[in-house]
């Protein structure tokens, strides 16, 4: 790939790589403070139960135990409906319910109490001395059960949010969404072929390898410092501050390296408990979740149910679509319904569309975002339906998509109009790709294709760029670097200021030292935060020009800058180096240069992609093995191609797990597989090399045409695998995950059908 830029579009080593390969990078659990206590959480073994009493008097008598907290230690809330941003906004009252069970447990793993003690072992022993009297309540296992009218209510005070008037009675439905454009009825009537299918997807976990970890310490005067691996330090600060009634300025959150988040490290529950224990004991407290706790008590993704109906004319043109989507949000409302809706069939141009959506509670952990929240399940449903429709029309599945793919000027499911997008180019790349054009090898193999999109979050961002006296530059922000933000930020600063990479440093600092910036989610950092960085650079450059002008005795409007040099465009002889101007900032005139940049409410820069997969299915066991994978994605501008490839390959692998092996196995509301042994994430042997192909259709709104790349890559794999399994075996898998056993029984059922058909 050639790039017209000097530092963008080029692979560079990651800024943080060295610290990470020598074991020096400090993650959430790596902090050690003097006199530190260890905190542990008592968790409910019952998915749904009334808490009649909690007696922790015995625990307090254990030598080494310094404090025990329960929901009684939480301050009351004046405004329980105040919400916090991120991909999924939440009401404070709901967060409070999740933090420490208040009178009632809502899921297996719900926190009941927390202990701080002088050692982890003592804290664990203390948990066993806490006596909780439960009254078991019926378990509402999933959204479908929760929606039935005779099902007991989980929250007696939950009234469905709708666009219409407030419902008269409470229910287990948190939100109902109805959306329509065009005339779906007419559209379906015009169709020559209509396909309607139903789907179900499982609850899966983000699977970050680093468990949640946090340390907190309150000063003598009550000022609190929190060290933690979170996706958003300001989000963490503001949430804790609101729940515990601390002034934001007196709560400093220090970002530690984060060992994977994928949306799952936005909930701040452990952090809040740590602060409470630190406040109560006056000593530093560290808390680290066990893997069991991570599975049971953080926020996995939402399991979902769909009905998809699509109609098309003989020539392949889609005339109408209907989608019913039910997202299970777990213990409290607020699953990814809205995000699922916005992106759902966003890869298609559909004139007549109706979507009904439901956000429903059940006795499971409250869901959190997981990479393109809500979209992977709905794309699985839509793409499988489209695959069936193309087959019924007798059309090649790729040609069908080329015929109907969304383009500039088309509308998203929520009626936003697309600016320039790169889906058609992605599909054209698929059409010309060797993978698509190489015949399959061997028996029991099939090739699948799927396409999908992620809207792309933008939110609010800010950054500072400081020019040092030696001409080097330092970018500072509170933007948590999940997997590459520092590296791309450095490239953007080098490009914008035209400085060599070696002269650019970047740093992620704490909430006390940096301006407010929102959490690192939704593929927004390189695009939206990158815009703030770019603007900070423009600001720094303008200030530098203003410093250079009096030195050259010319008007600032006449100053040009390139490659480390300022000059007057009226008199080329009048020139001064960047370094000299920088040096002078320390002693002269206007003084030091700090560029400030922020970006709020940028237009979206949607990311589109398509995946090709070859699968081999063992017909005797049902096991599907992934033989070959190609992911094609529009990155707008791939700032660092190696990192873009890494994002795509990682997303594919998570998608493979979602597709064939990962799921929460609940037995009457109790999670039976909270280990990496039985929650089966792909190992190195479960995936092939993952081929990537980057398309670059610049986004019109941000700097340099950059689009986010982190999310779209996870939305296609389950659908692509399902399509490949169909072509290998003749069976359609409408339920995730497509485990060997599920595929095996589907093959058996089909064989039976064939035998029965032969008999007639």
């Amino acid at each position: 790939m050639t790039s017209k830029y000097k530092y963008l579009g080029k692979t560079t080593e990651a800024v943080d790589a060295l610290e990470k390969v020598i074991g020096k990078a400090a993650f959430g659990a790596d902090i050690h403070l003097p006199g530190m206590l260890y905190g542990k959480v008592l968790r409910s073994p019952h998915p749904h139960a009334k808490i009649k009493s909690i007696d922790y008097s015995k625990a307090l008598t254990l030598e080494g135990v310094k404090a025990v907290i329960t929901s009684k230690d939480l301050p009351s809330l004046e405004d329980a409906r105040a919400s916090f941003g991120g991909e999924l906004t939440m009401d404070l009252g709901q967060i409070r319910k999740l933090l420490l069970a208040d009178g009632k447990t809502l899921f297996d793993g719900h926190a009941i109490a927390a202990v701080a003690a002088t050692s982890l072992e003592i804290a664990e022993q203390a948990l066993e001395l806490i006596n909780v009297d439960y009254e078991i309540l019926p378990v509402i296992e999933n959204a479908l059960q929760a929606m039935r009218p005779d099902t007991p209510l989980i929250h007696p005070d939950l009234y469905t949010r709708t666009l219409g008037e407030k419902p008269k009675a409470p229910s287990n439905i948190g939100t109902m969404l109805e959306h329509q454009r065009g005339d779906p009825e007419k559209g379906f009537a015009e169709a020559d072929v209509v396909v309607e299918e139903s789907f179900e997807t499982a609850m899966v976990h983000q699977g970050y390898i680093e468990p949640q970890a946090c340390a907190a310490w309150a000063d003598g005067d009550g000022k609190v410092t929190v060290w933690t691996s979170t996706q958003g330090i300001f989000n963490t600060r503001d949430q804790i501050a609101a729940l515990l009634k601390i002034t934001r300025g007196r709560l400093n959150v220090v970002p530690m390296e984060i060992g994977g988040g994928f949306g799952g490290k936005n909930d701040n529950l452990l952090q809040t408990l740590t602060v409470m224990l630190a406040q109560k004991t006056g000593r530093p407290v560290k808390m680290i979740m066990s893997r069991d706790e991570v599975f049971r008590a953080t926020g996995p993704s939402s399991p979902a149910y769909f009905t998809v109906k699509v109609g098309a004319k003989k020539d392949g043109e889609i005339t109408a679509a209907y989608i019913k989507m039910i997202y299970d949000s777990g213990a409290v409302p607020g699953g990814p319904l809205h995000l699922g809706w916005v992106a759902s069939c966003g890869a298609y141009s559909i004139p007549n569309l109706k979507i009904d959506g439901y956000d429903v509670v059940s006795n499971k952990p409250r869901v959190q975002p997981y990479r393109a929240p809500g979209v992977t399940p709905v794309v699985f449903a839509i793409e499988t339906t489209m695959d069936i429709l193309a087959e019924k029309l007798g059309m090649d599945t790729l040609k069908f998509r080329l015929r109907n793919c969304a383009k500039e000027g088309d509308y998203m499911p929520d009626d936003q109009k697309y600016a320039r997008i790169g889906l058609k180019e992605v599909l054209e790349r698929v059409a010309s790709h060797p993978h698509w054009n190489t015949p399959l090898e061997g028996p029991n193999r099939g090739r699948g294709l799927a396409m999908g999109m992620w809207t792309g979050a933008t939110l609010s961002s800010s950054a500072l760029v400081m020019v040092n006296g030696d001409g080097s530059a330092t970018g500072v922000s509170g933007q948590v670097d999940l997997t590459g933000t520092r590296t791309t930020t450095r490239q953007i600063i080098a490009e914008a200021l035209q400085l060599p990479l070696e002269k650019v440093q970047v740093r992620v600092a704490d909430t006390e030292s940096t301006p407010y910036t929102m959490t690192s989610v939704g593929s927004r950092t390189t695009y939206a935060f990158g815009t703030a960085v770019y603007r900070a650079c423009q600001d720094a450059l303008a200030q530098m020009k203003a410093r250079a002008a009096p030195q050259l005795l010319v008007d600032v409007g006449d100053i040009e800058y390139a490659e480390g040099k300022f000059w007057s465009k009226k008199d080329l002889e009048k020139a001064v180096s960047w370094n000299e101007v920088a040096r002078n900032t320390q002693t002269r005139g206007e003084g030091m240069v700090t560029g400030r940049g922020s970006a709020t409410r940028l237009p979206i820069a949607p990311e589109f992609n398509a995946h090709i997969v070859d699968v081999e299915v063992d017909p005797e066991t049902g096991k599907a093995s992934i033989k070959r994978w190609t992911a094609v994605q529009d990155a707008g501008l791939a700032v660092n191609p190696m990192q873009v490839e890494g994002q795509m390959q990682g997303g594919v692998t998570q998608g493979i797990g979602w597709g064939i092996s990962e799921y929460y196995y609940y037995d009457k509301g109790k999670l039976r597989n909270p280990t990496f042994l039985d929650y089966r994430m792909p190992t190195s042997l479960d995936v092939p090399m993952i081929d990537t192909s980057i398309v670059e259709v610049p986004a019109p709104d941000g700097p340099y045409g950059i689009r986010g790349v982190g999310e779209a890559c996870i939305v296609c794999p389950p659908a692509a695998i399902a399509s490949a399994i169909y072509r290998a075996t003749g069976v359609r898998m409408n339920k995730l995950p497509m485990t060997p056993e599920a595929v095996f029984w589907a093959i058996k059922a089909k064989e039976k059908q064939l035998v029965a058909a032969d008999g007639h």
Binding site: V21, A29, G259, M689
Partner: protein
């Protein structure tokens, strides 16, 4: 319960510490010696983030008692580079983008070193088998496998 003495070599240096009889090697390294490069991801041998080399062989240090390591030689990620020179697997992981969040990286580096020490020219399958006990959620393994291949082919 009385603590027991543990005398062992860590990254070439003699260490004499007291550990609890039930303390794991992982905890001794992290909490006593403050060698926090070794990570804890699952505590039951399924993720490999805590991989270290004990007497020449990799082990999940969460499943080794510290007391078992008495007299042993232990290598952690902090001991991979020698005389200020990065180990080839460290260089390769950086150059080929074989890490993202970096949490699983120390374990992968030690598994890769262990493989290459005994099998300098592994096939792709042998590499994948050698790192199957190390979970990575960011990279999809592609670049990790390629980095190890690059070390084998001396392309670092």
């Amino acid at each position: 319960m009385a603590k027991i003495p543990l005398v062992f070599k860590v990254n070439g240096e003699q260490q004499e510490i007291l550990v609890q009889p039930y303390q794991t090697l992982l905890s001794a390294l992290r909490d006593e010696l403050r060698l926090t490069g070794t990570k804890e991801g699952c505590s039951n041998g399924n993720c490999g983030a805590c991989t270290v080399i004990v007497n020449g062989r990799t082990a999940d240090s969460c499943l080794v008692l510290a007391a078992e390591a008495n007299g042993a030689e232990v290598t952690t990620v902090e001991g991979l580079s020698q005389n200020g020179q990065l180990h080839p697997v460290q260089k390769a992981f950086m150059k080929y983008g074989a890490l993202q969040c970096g949490f699983c990286t120390p374990g992968f580096l030690l598994s890769a070193k262990y493989l290459l020490d005994s099998n300098p020219n592994p096939t792709e399958h042998e590499i994948r088998l050698a790192i199957a006990g190390n979970l990575c959620r960011c990279t999809g393994y592609d670049k990790i496998v390629r980095a190890i291949q690059a070390v084998a082919q001396a392309e670092v």
